[in-house]
Subunit: 249 residues, 2 copies
DNA sequence: AGGAGTCTGTTTCCCAGCGAACAGAAAAAG
DNA sequence: CTTTTTCTGTTCGCTGGGAAACAGACTCCT
């Protein structure tokens, strides 16, 4: 799916956009739009979940940490997904830390209200499970990427994934944060970013990275980007066709 | 949960053991016991799923590969779990390769029969989703482990996880395979194993590794082992108490 | 405007582990 | 028993990137 096609969903969250009107209506009172920045907390691991979140232009990340304080991102969530799935099963405790990586809008729904949606079998339920399985692929591929690929490759992948989920070509983030996302040190990231800029693929400014030549970045990214993207594309296209089958549209 | 307590489930698969009698009965005709060895194929990524598998003494692994042929395990499945979850959602295509890592017994059920279980909300369905979320934790922690931990730490973790899932203290596997599991080269594994043997924690024989001092191995393993194990323990204990609550037992 | 705080570019040292290669030992095949 | 195959132990050079440190640049605050 092209970035252009993706933009179709940028004014709304893909999952919410699939909800039948009656389900939307019942959630409406507990639903609110919010603008989130990296300072805002989404979930802290092992703490109670108050809201489930459906990003629109914001990008969230699942973060895993070690007791030594090392951090690495194990998954990203943008307009195509949501966080708070455990709520579906009646778990109120977040298994991972989730942070805002790129500022933007989200829709959030109070957890206890959202959970009621799962008291019967529904379209949204099936959709969310499918989403979760897709996220599983993302996680597995991140595993591979972390094991075998260089800082350059991992960073390239991350930038492309972020670019897919943000509005426009500018990513508002520092090199420090970027390094944290891919589990590398800042100096390594700084050098690699410098090379990309010399090659004209990106522009670096303080606290901001602008993607200039996305196509070339895709060429030089590791296969992990493609694998993950295909999984998400499949999730979206698959669901659309199943809905079309349902409604005869 | 102690290894001793775990052994309680070794004669049966934990998930199957939770099934109410009527569900067992309806699955019975499609269910069969089989002995699997590492030569047997479970799933190949992107191919059709014929059976879902519930290991008993066998240990299976989800394997991710790169196009260059590098391989790394992204998850293990033993007596506590199952493979074939996508079937629950009507996906018939395996997202990952799954292999037999340690030979042993499994129960398998023809996929199309198993799927019927999911046409209505049931206990087993909730159980399986919970299992899948636990597997998610395992995957995320593997991500961290792959990024930050040494060959020695990763190998230690793997040996402990395998030990939790096998019958007895002997693991029937070559160093080559072990290296593949943790995404390292055999020489590195060979050296680390040699050190463990010198320290008296294991015994190495051709094609076989015997765990001699499990407690000491746990001490020297990275925290990833503990995190994953706690997630699985929680899965099992949580479900048991919810069932007890249900049945008043 | 000036100073504090934050972000970025770069350098130096160092090592875990990859890649490659080979020899010996155990098992399997004949 | 001999040959072949499959494992295991070990060695060595090389490199990506971690750890630490510092200077310069930008931003924001007062």
């Amino acid at each position: 799916m092209s970035k252009a096609r993706r933009l179709h969903y940028l004014n709304k969250n893909f999952i919410l956009a699939q909800l039948p009107p009656d389900e939307i209506e019942s959630l409406q009172p507990a639903m609110q739009m919010a603008r989130m920045t990296p300072e805002d907390l989404i979930f802290r691991a092992n703490e109670r979940v108050e809201y489930v979140y459906f990003p629109i232009t914001a990008m969230l990340s699942w973060i895993a940490t070690t007791s030594e304080g090392e951090r690495v991102e194990v998954g990203v969530v943008g307009w195509e997904g949501m966080v708070g799935v455990p709520e579906m099963l009646g778990y109120s405790i977040a298994p991972f830390t989730v942070e805002v990586e790129l500022p933007g809008d989200v829709v959030r729904i109070r957890a206890e209200v959202f959970r009621r949606t799962f008291e019967r079998v529904s379209l949204i339920q099936n959709l969310l499970f499918r989403y979760y399985f897709t996220a599983h692929t993302q996680l597995a591929q991140s595993c591979v990427c972390n094991r075998f690929h260089t800082v350059e490759e991992r960073m390239n992948r991350w930038l492309l994934m972020a670019h897919d989920r943000c509005d426009g070509d500018e990513l508002a983030l520092t090199q420090e944060i970027l390094a944290g996302m891919i589990g590398a040190r800042r100096p390594a990231v700084s050098i690699v970013l410098g090379n990309l800029q010399k090659a004209g693929l990106i522009r670096i400014e303080r606290g901001r990275i602008t993607i200039l030549q996305r196509e070339k970045m895709e060429e030089s990214a590791c296969e992990c980007y493609r694998v993950i993207r295909e999984a998400f594309d499949h999730f979206i296209e698959d669901y659309q066709s199943s809905v079309n089958g349902f409604h005869g549209a």
